[in-house]
């Protein structure tokens, strides 16, 4: 192991001393951070700037097999794709053709992972005339052509509808723009006035990264740079191996499902996972996973790699950045043509991130078998993104992208504590756009955005609660849903913790007296609503596991008249540990704060809280005797 290497052996293997390796490893992290912040603070696309929908990396040269020692603080959904996408791009283009000042682009999901909007930009870094490394950014472009503006859809059926596919090609050669590539892109995409500056900002970020790497090479030498790339990846592989060795050997299975595809609801899509752990190695086998979907909710093999990596980091290596060394002790078995290994032209890939959420649920369920108390409860299992379009009275168009639906939702409970209620999903990250900014840009009024009492999956550490969001749309509006996880509860409990509750989407007709007539949150309110997604009672429209499944993609978009109110209710997250072991003081605190009702405290936690939480929140007390009696005889479930 690295730790036991003496100075000579370390220098022999890594081309520098330990001190230099430590300094350069830090430097790689900084370089990536600077590349990304240059892009982020200049981005126009709301997806890029608000959802960090990009990644930056440094990769070694072909001789290092594109080893990746540093990855950015953006979203983890890109992580597992980055090494392979740079390798596939450069190997196909031809590393021997590269020259200083080149930028190579590609966006084909089957070559580079994720989806067509995520364009990969690769810039080679030369030092002393030799190829030293690559600096890379993969960033979501607001549009890539295809049948649906912006691309976000579950209903596109083929590669041809999905968007423009770019095989690897130069965007710049020796610092000069390659006009035919730029023209190819701008002849095929919408919103060119946003893509153009965004692509320039990406290239400016790469140029900065190149400059910083060259300065480092001048100071420390190419050998130390290349050695440190290997050193960082080796160290990560060692950490994973050591953590795997501590887990019990065995085989565990997990699964999860997407409700449907964008064609109809005749078929559910299952991700089946079996993990086998022996000593320092792990095999992840996805045999038994459903065939590829008929519309663009598929993912590719590189996305499987991402999610396996994320799950392993959660459990085994939570601190620090991703490197390609993470995967050295892991084998992934993946049949061709499944919903997570789709093939062109029919296995269209857009909502890959929804499959990533299904996969992480399946993996966390399987890993719960060997992780013991380190198990992590399920989150809400999807992103529940909402998009809306319309025109103002003066005819000018407006777009609301991923701002007003179920985007903000809960995390599951863990050994460390309760799950937060207001997060994005496990593999997403981003900025919640301010209500005031949304209302200044789009004709909408945010009516309420609050957690629902008693919704959180009970546990010794409970999950986060469902968030309920009501928005009133002031003009005629067309809504697009992406709800693929409303049929069953995604937020599973672990270690004796209980599951969360399912969610749904409804639309209410414009209330006659405006905001004063807005629907309440009780069950009686839903009779007047039209459900758009969820499993609901056919009479009352209230969520009911025994009710009717409402398929959300009957129409490509749902139109509403001025003043209509859209309601999103997320699935809540699962709890960790037996809720009857939760500290009664924590239960009382949840009652005081409105996360749990007095009835819920008794039913779900066996804690009898006395008082009036609304009028006298500090006057609540715990009836210890009654609590003891309830907890002595937990209800059968």
């Amino acid at each position: 192991v690295i730790r036991d290497l003496d100075d000579a052996a370390f220098a022999e293997r890594y081309g520098c001393d330990r001190f230099t390796a430590t300094v350069l490893a830090n430097r790689f992290g900084y370089v990536v951070e600077h590349m990304c912040s240059r892009l982020l603070t200049a981005a126009f696309s709301p997806i890029l700037r608000d959802f960090y929908d990009f990644a930056g990396t440094i990769a070694g040269p072909p001789a290092s097999d594109y080893a990746t020692p540093a990855m950015s603080n953006s979203i983890v959904l890109f992580t597992g794709t980055m090494t392979d996408s740079v390798r596939n791009t450069i190997e196909e283009y031809g590393p021997e053709r590269l020259e200083p000042g080149d930028v190579i682009v590609a966006n084909d999901p089957y070559r580079t992972g994720t989806h067509v909007n995520d364009m990969l930009f690769v810039r080679p870094v030369f030092h002393d005339g030799a190829l030293l490394a690559f600096v890379n950014l993969k960033a979501h472009q607001l549009d890539m052509g295809g049948a649906v503006p912006g691309g976000f859809s579950c209903t596109k059926r083929t590669v041809y509808e999905n968007g423009l596919v770019l095989s690897p090609r130069p965007l710049y050669r020796r610092g000069e723009p390659v006009q035919e590539t730029w023209s190819l892109i701008f002849d095929n995409v919408r919103f060119g006035e946003i893509l153009f500056p965004d692509m320039q900002s990406v290239c400016a970020g790469l140029q900065l990264g190149e400059r910083l790497l060259i300065e480092s090479a001048q100071r420390y030498g190419a050998r130390a740079m290349l050695g440190t790339i290997d050193y960082v990846c080796d160290a990560n592989a060692e950490r994973i191996a050591a953590a795997l060795a501590e887990l019990p050997d065995g085989r565990w299975e997990g699964w999860d499902m997407a409700d449907c595809d964008g064609v109809d609801d005749s078929e559910e899509y299952r991700v089946q996972v079996a993990i086998t752990k022996r000593g320092e190695r792990l095999e992840v086998d996805l045999s038994g996973t459903s065939r590829q979907a008929r519309s663009c909710i598929n993912a590719t093999a590189l996305d499987v790699k991402t999610t396996v990596g994320v799950a392993l980091k959660y459990l085994l290596d939570p601190r620090g950045a991703f490197t390609s060394g993470l995967y050295r002790n892991v084998d992934i078995v993946l049949p061709e043509g499944t919903v997570v290994s789709a093939m062109p032209p029919d296995g269209a890939v857009f909502a890959y991130y929804e499959q990533s959420q299904v996969m992480i649920s399946a993996l966390l369920r399987a890993l719960a078998g060997c992780a013991g108390p380190r198990a992590i409860a399920g989150d809400r299992g999807g992103t529940d993104i909402h998009n809306a379009f319309g025109a103002r009275p003066d005819g000018s168009p407006w777009v609301s992208a991923a701002q007003c639906g179920g985007e903000v939702g809960p995390f599951g409970g863990t050994r460390e504590g309760d799950g937060d209620t207001q997060m994005l999903s496990y593999q997403a990250n981003g900025i919640g756009v301010a209500v005031e900014q949304i209302e200044a840009d789009v004709p909408v009024v945010m009516v309420r955005h609050e957690p629902v009492p008693d919704s959180a999956g009970p546990g010794r550490h409970r999950g986060g609660a469902s968030m309920l969001r009501d928005t009133m749309w002031l003009g005629p509006t067309e809504h697009h849903l992406m709800s693929l996880r409303a049929k069953r509860v995604a937020g599973f409990g672990v270690e004796g913790g209980r599951d969360g509750r399912a969610g749904g989407v409804w639309v209410f007709d414009p209330p006659a007296d405006g905001l004063d007539g807005a629907p309440g949150t009780g069950p009686e309110a839903y009779a007047a609503a039209r459900p758009l997604a969820g499993v609901v009672d056919p009479e009352t429209n209230v969520l009911d596991p025994a009710g009717r499944y409402v398929y959300p993609f009957d129409q490509a978009g749902h139109s509403t008249p001025p003043g209509a109110i859209l309601r999103y209710l997320n699935t809540s997250a699962g709890g960790w540990g037996d809720p009857f072991e939760r500290d009664p003081e924590m239960v009382k605190r949840d009652v005081r704060d409105g996360y749990v009702t007095i009835a819920g405290a008794a039913r779900d936690y066996g804690v009898v809280v006395v008082g009036d939480p609304d009028e006298d929140p500090e006057g609540l007390t715990i009836d210890l005797g009654a609590t003891g009696r309830l907890r002595g005889q937990p209800p059968r479930r």
Binding site: T414, T421, N429, D593
Partner: protein
């Protein structure tokens, strides 16, 4: 004039009287924060002093530790959870670590627990129109609950109140009617009338905390200073180390939540001005961390927000200070792959480094410097404390690593220097400046023993060790101006037809400032934060320039925006329209400042002795030792050498030359 910098461990006091600088250090007392300040004032004498300038990290510490008064938060019904949500984002550490929780979220340690956050029935829209009237009966019912809970203060932030403040003002009246005239109240439309509800709400909440924390404290301080014979003005420093009369500071006390590190940047700026150099990288090496900041062309780099902890944002102008966990007390440990690591954990003041002999067993950077011979075992902290090299040796010997003892100590020192250098480099890159054009100012008690070694890693032009490096930050409080400011938000496309509207906003703010402040001799500075249409990040501090904004001058303003954008981000998009977001007026009143005393010429310094400097090279180096007080203008020292003064030690590395300048500053450069 007197400056007082209240830190967590020590309260530093500096005074200038008839051009003479006197200094003292008093232990801080968190339970009775005013006591240390008064003790310092007593020791140094306040009679006849014109100003007493006060900086404190007390506000920040109260927020971080959650030792806070009970405060309620009122907002539009349906939105009380904006304080649980923040800006939503997770930091890198939180992305793959399942134990990460939002530190101020309801599942962790909220600033205001959910039951004290109450929704009020009312609604104003983004254009300022009223969609729903304020329901006063409902508001009174909510206030009755807060009365029962005996809250000490109330923060009010209603949606879109930055456009129209009617409901907030009325609600404040109701609060006083229901909870009493003396309850502390802040409303967002006055505290910080800027768009985006979360930052405005958290600013308003912090403002109420600071009203309660500083309110009593300031009155007591003022009274006790008067009792000591002080007849001048008491000023508080803010997050940019500019000053405000204390009563005015208490009107918007969120501004003074964190004053301290910024004073060091101001001090560097002042010294730079005296030396005729305006491009400075400033590094303040303390016990647990190093604070790095930047001065370009004589101006510190200022931000329009300040983050108290992860995502707890306030809309305060603040000097940008970034921190790296490397300081004198940083703990030296071994990573799983066998690397030496320094920090971010720190031994703090108690137990402190192993060599303090107070029970610390882990080696620290201070222990490394002692073993290397840099620190004098008998003469630490002005001779008040003896250091035990044997304890330091044992701590390093106990590390579990195959590295030799020599390597452990040498790597600890070099890693710490490299970590600080990386952070300095990082600050330079982030702002697009070339360190070769910059001088590195090395202060904080531990700065001069670490930063000269960073010279070769950083390629800065030189390292400057100022006089009194341990008290250099506090001296910044005697080097700054009084700055009053107002700001407003409105999303306005900067087109010629909007000129009158924008001009009107500036005029209103200027009138408000002039009504408050005697503007005689003051300078007025207008700036705006804008964005290219479609972006959500603003480019801050675009200079608006003098003279009225008219349809004719608007294109020039837009050009200035594009210039500022290009300087910051390296691209220029002249075809994209520019949107103004925040408009700001600063009224700057010049104050008397510290003048550095010149030192006498003494070109031929005599070493006080020699010592062995270990672990810097394969063999120990013979280094000359100098007493700083004996050095005069023109003294030149060739490294390796050590310069001692009561509270600090300067290391001149082999291959470096140190020259003493006009004000006693030590300027270290690589030998040509």
């Amino acid at each position: 004039m007197i400056g007082v910098d209240v830190g967590g461990t020590f309260t530093d006091v500096v005074a200038v009287r008839d051009g003479q600088l006197t200094v003292t250090k008093v232990p801080s007392d968190a339970a009775q924060p005013a006591a240390a300040v008064i003790e310092g004032a007593r020791r140094i004498g306040v009679e006849g002093s014109a100003v007493f300038n006060h900086a404190s990290t007390m506000g920040l510490n109260a927020v971080i530790t959650r030792r806070l008064p009970k405060v309620a938060f009122l907002t539009t019904e349906g939105h009380r959870d904006i304080l649980d949500r923040g800006t939503l984002r997770r930091p890198l550490d939180g992305q793959t670590d399942p134990s990460w929780r939002r530190p101020f979220g309801d599942a962790a340690r909220p600033l205001v627990p959910r039951y004290l956050r109450r929704g009020i029935v009312e609604r104003t829209l983004a254009d300022g129109s009223e969609l729903r009237a304020l329901d006063e009966a409902q508001a009174r019912r909510q206030l009755a609950v807060l009365r029962r809970c005996a809250v000490e203060g109330v923060a009010i932030c209603l949606l879109n109140a930055y456009v129209d403040a009617t409901h907030e003002r009325r609600l404040r009246e109701l609060v006083h009617e229901e909870l009493g005239a003396d309850v502390a109240v802040s409303i967002s439309s006055e505290t910080s009338p800027l768009a985006k509800e979360y930052a405005r709400a958290s600013t308003t909440v912090v403002d109420v905390f600071m009203k309660l924390i500083f309110g009593r404290y300031s009155a007591q301080l003022d009274e006790e200073l008067r009792a000591l014979g002080f007849a001048g003005d008491l000023h508080f420093a803010d997050c940019a180390a500019t000053l405000l009369p204390w009563r005015e500071a208490l009107e918007k006390p969120f501004r003074i939540v964190f004053a301290g590190p910024a004073a060091g940047t101001i001090s560097s700026t002042r010294l730079g001005a005296a030396l005729g150099t305006g491009n400075l990288l400033c590094a303040d090496v303390g016990g647990t961390s190093t604070d790095v900041s930047l001065v370009v062309d004589g101006a510190p780099f200022v931000n329009n927000t300040f983050e108290i902890e992860h995502d707890v944002v306030i809309n305060a102008l603040s000097t940008e200070v970034s921190s790296v966990g490397a300081g004198g007390g940083s703990i030296v440990s071994i990573s799983p792959s066998g690397d030496i690591r320094v920090g971010p954990e720190s031994a703090g003041a108690d137990p402190g480094p192993a060599c303090y002999g107070r029970g610390g067993e882990q080696p620290t950077l201070t222990d490394a410097c002692l073993l290397m011979g840099i620190l004098d075992p008998g003469g630490f902290a002005g001779g008040e404390m003896a250091l035990d090299p044997e304890l330091a040796r044992r701590a390093f010997a106990a590390l579990d690593t195959p590295l030799s003892f020599e390597q452990r100590v040498a790597f600890a020192y070099r890693i710490a220097v490299a970590n600080i250098a990386e952070e300095v480099m990082n600050v330079a890159v982030r702002h697009g400046v070339d360190p070769r054009d910059f001088s590195l100012v090395a202060y904080g008690a531990a700065g001069p023993m670490l930063l000269p070694a960073a010279l070769e890693l950083l390629h800065v032009a030189r390292v400057i060790v100022p006089p009194q490096p341990g008290l250099f930050s506090a001296m910044g409080l005697l080097s700054t101006d009084l700055v009053h400011y107002e700001s407003r938000s409105a999303y306005v496309l900067l087109m010629p037809d909007a000129a009158a509207d924008v001009e009107e906003r500036y005029k209103e703010m200027e009138q408000a400032l002039r009504a408050r402040v005697d503007a005689n001799g003051a300078t007025i500075r207008r700036s705006l934060d804008g964005r290219l249409l479609g972006q959500s990040w603003e480019t801050p501090f675009v200079e608006v320039g003098d003279g009225a904004i008219t349809a004719e001058t608007m294109p020039a303003l837009v050009e200035r925006f594009h210039d500022a954008y290009e300087r910051r981000y390296g691209n220029r998009f002249p075809y994209v329209p520019v949107q103004g977001v925040t408009y700001r007026v600063e009224l700057v009143v010049g104050a008397d400042k510290l003048e550095y005393a010149e030192v006498a010429a003494a070109p031929d310094p005599e070493p006080a002795g020699t010592l062995e400097l270990r672990y810097l090279d394969d063999e120990p180096l013979q280094a000359s030792v100098y007493d700083r007080d004996a050095l005069g203008l023109g003294a030149t020292i060739r490294g390796p050498a050590i310069v001692r003064e009561p509270l600090s030690t300067t290391v001149v590395m082999p291959g470096q030359t140190a020259a003493v300048g006009r004000f006693g500053e030590i300027v270290i450069e690589a030998q040509p």
